[in-house]
Point group: C2
Chain length 421, copies 2
């Protein structure tokens, strides 16, 4: 089940401007790109550098949604939505409209056809701030929260794996940063492209959904590219060295993708997302000695090597670390092999009113089953991790991530919401 | 008075990693770069694309501070600080320490010498999250707010031009997003580099200053590069087409740089910054017809051309616009030639609790005298601009921006704080 999905767009790096083609010759180009059949096979897992260099488009159609195994993009805009409508038909229509908009935006095109052409008396189909920008590897990934199933009488379709997360020691969750009926993760190398995408989905959903909370992530803290240097988090450390790469089909199949045998047919090819807003007390951390910092993580700060080793990717010797070291507690070797795919981002959202930056890690983890992934891992970390002195979990949500949109006629949530599919 | 300042670093695109040179051969390289004399003349106003491609360093030393006429970088982290110490000597020492840290960080180097070498029992000199990243054209620009002069008995040195801004109709200012004794504007093409810089200055200032408020800007809305396409704001429009370019030395001299004759000798070569956090009601805007949107701005949305014209840079015919059109009211031609240099950034800071994105424009304008720049301009806009229906000013601050740091021995604020300089 490799990620050899295909792209709709023939051009490797179309400019949004060229494709939209403002009222004139360009429209023909836009139409050709929109209607064109599969042209180039471009797997999600191209190397980051190659894709970044082209500013190219990531395929929207496939067995899995893009934005999970896809090489991690530089920026994030994540939004959780409350559903306001109680009419299933209205919601389904919105999801179809969202899918078509997502299909266009991820290909570097504006929402709607000939967005500003001739309809001066109507609001534009596209809000316009991404015009002229490249696709920037935009991916849009949708998810359904536990509350969604209650609202639409779908309790019997709620997957067993979509459990409510338990309270963990140290949790200090804000309701206004937690939960949500729906989520959309927008990742792109250009933040304006990610923000534009969420904003246009919110606009299309007006009256049917409302943004519950959202989070901008300015820098990635994980890589899903093999052998890449792991980016540094706001503690200045590399974390998540053994993350699953987008090319590791065996580990993806084992730890990330839900399948038919898991109990919910409609989720086959999907995954489960745990999102946690983790505030970092960076001012306290910054006054901590280098030795203490390295003991807390179980790595050296400069290279990112496990304690006692020379290089980041050297195999860690866990017993060389303190029993409370983060790496020692989180490593699969010490956790019956628990492995999650991480796609976290650093955030800085102004100040907290006490002279401190409101900064931290927006943690995003994909897994086949949170009961065998995040939950046991976090129980262990919450109980013992030396890092707990410097962090606090302040937001939390869990979502079922349905399988990918297969083709032009498919839509987000079809396998869940189509009667007797 | 052209901006032909020079850089300290001989390498056009040093990696922070290479220059820091973690305990080994690299240290020699780092030392060479640190101690090396002027090597390459690289003006602030290189084209954006050329600089972005190299990830290069912008010169820190010069007659003016960098970050004003410098080609606008992609990302912003702006912080306002309250001064907590009452000891002038402690504050001066902090400003000297800040200057040295800024000198290093803008050159792509870590704070401190051999940051992690051998001092395991002490906190690292640098927080580490920018290690391995390029200089990314980082600029750091300091300013002094009106309250600073009161706190340190410097009322007689407060420039006449540094007035408190009046209340404008429609202002809805939040105290927690306004004012500040000091400010630092960090601009860079990589947001992690900008966030790192502010965070390290806050760390160095611990006990002497505290962050009062801060603002992340994810996308630039202005260009200071001649003939560049103006970036789009979150209303999807180009605004600020006639902005002053970094190469226009005549207009910079006339409208941006303070000089000896302005009444405050210590400010010669400096400027004045007005910062306004402008919330945009994007959900309301998005339900407004294209015609209304174009009437509000006085431009077409697609190309950005003034009403009735074909191209963005065509000379506007103001009478073709509605009397309340933004461009018509803001254009120098209609304002006795009032001209400011704009370096604004779009922001999205989560949601407002009412299902709407907390998004807008963080407006930054540099000028030789706010009494002849922002204040009369904003009086006119606040009274009549059709845009007012869709925006609200929620944060405000004004700062005196001292002249540039001349050389290795100079420091931020010297001309203000040295007795009988």
């Amino acid at each position: 089940m490799t990620d050899t999905t295909t792209t709709d767009s023939a051009s490797p790096a179309p400019s949004r401007r060229a494709l939209i083609g403002w009222g004139g010759a360009g429209l023909a180009l836009g139409a050709a790109a929109a209607g064109g059949a599969v042209a180039i096979a471009r797997p999600h897992d191209d190397t980051e550098s190659a894709q970044a260099a082209t500013g190219g488009a990531v395929a929207f159609h496939g067995a899995h949604q893009a934005g999970i195994a896809t090489a991690v993009q530089d920026r994030l805009h994540f939004a959780a939505f409350d559903v306001k409508t109680t009419e299933r038909a209205a919601l389904v229509q919105m999801l179809k409209d969202w899918t078509e908009a997502a299909r266009r935006m991820t290909a570097g095109r504006a929402v709607g056809e000939g967005a500003f052409g001739g309809l001066a008396e109507a609001p534009p189909d596209d809000t316009g701030e991404a015009l002229g920008l490249k696709p920037s590897r935009l991916t849009l990934t949708i998810g359904f929260g536990p509350s969604f199933f209650e609202k639409f009488g779908l309790a019997d379709k709620r997957p067993d794996a979509l459990v409510d997360l338990p309270h963990f020691p140290g949790d200090n969750l804000e309701k206004s940063r937690s939960g949500g009926d729906l989520c959309v993760q927008a990742c792109a190398d250009d933040p304006q492209v990610a923000v534009h995408a969420i904003r246009n989905l919110a606009r299309i959903g007006f009256g049917k959904v409302a943004v519950r909370w959202s989070q901008l992530g300015f820098g990635k803290t994980s890589s899903t590219t093999p052998d890449a240097q792991t980016p540094r988090n706001l503690f200045g450390f590399k974390d998540g060295t053994s993350n699953i790469a987008g090319t590791e089909t065996d580990r993806l199949k084992k730890f990330v993708w839900a399948d038919d045998g898991d109990g919910s047919d409609w989720m086959a090819g999907g995954s489960y997302l745990v999102a946690r807003r983790i505030r970092m007390n960076i001012e306290t951390w910054d006054r901590t000695s280098l030795q203490e910092q390295e003991d807390v993580f179980g790595r050296d700060k400069g290279e990112g090597a496990p304690a006692g080793k020379a290089k980041e990717h050297d195999k860690p010797f866990l017993k060389a670390m303190k029993p409370t070291a983060h790496v020692r507690l989180a490593h699969p070797e010490a956790n019956d092999g628990i492995t999650i795919l991480r796609r976290g981002y650093s955030f800085t959202d102004g100040t907290d009113g006490l002279g401190r930056l409101d900064a931290g890690l927006f943690f995003l983890a994909y897994q086949r089953d949170p009961r065998k992934g995040f939950i046991p891992l976090q129980r262990r970390l919450a109980a013992s991790d030396a890092l707990n002195e410097y962090i606090q979990h302040v937001g939390s949500a869990v979502f079922a991530i349905p399988p990918g949109v297969r083709d032009q006629n498919d839509w987000w949530g079809r396998t869940l919401l189509t009667e007797e599919a």
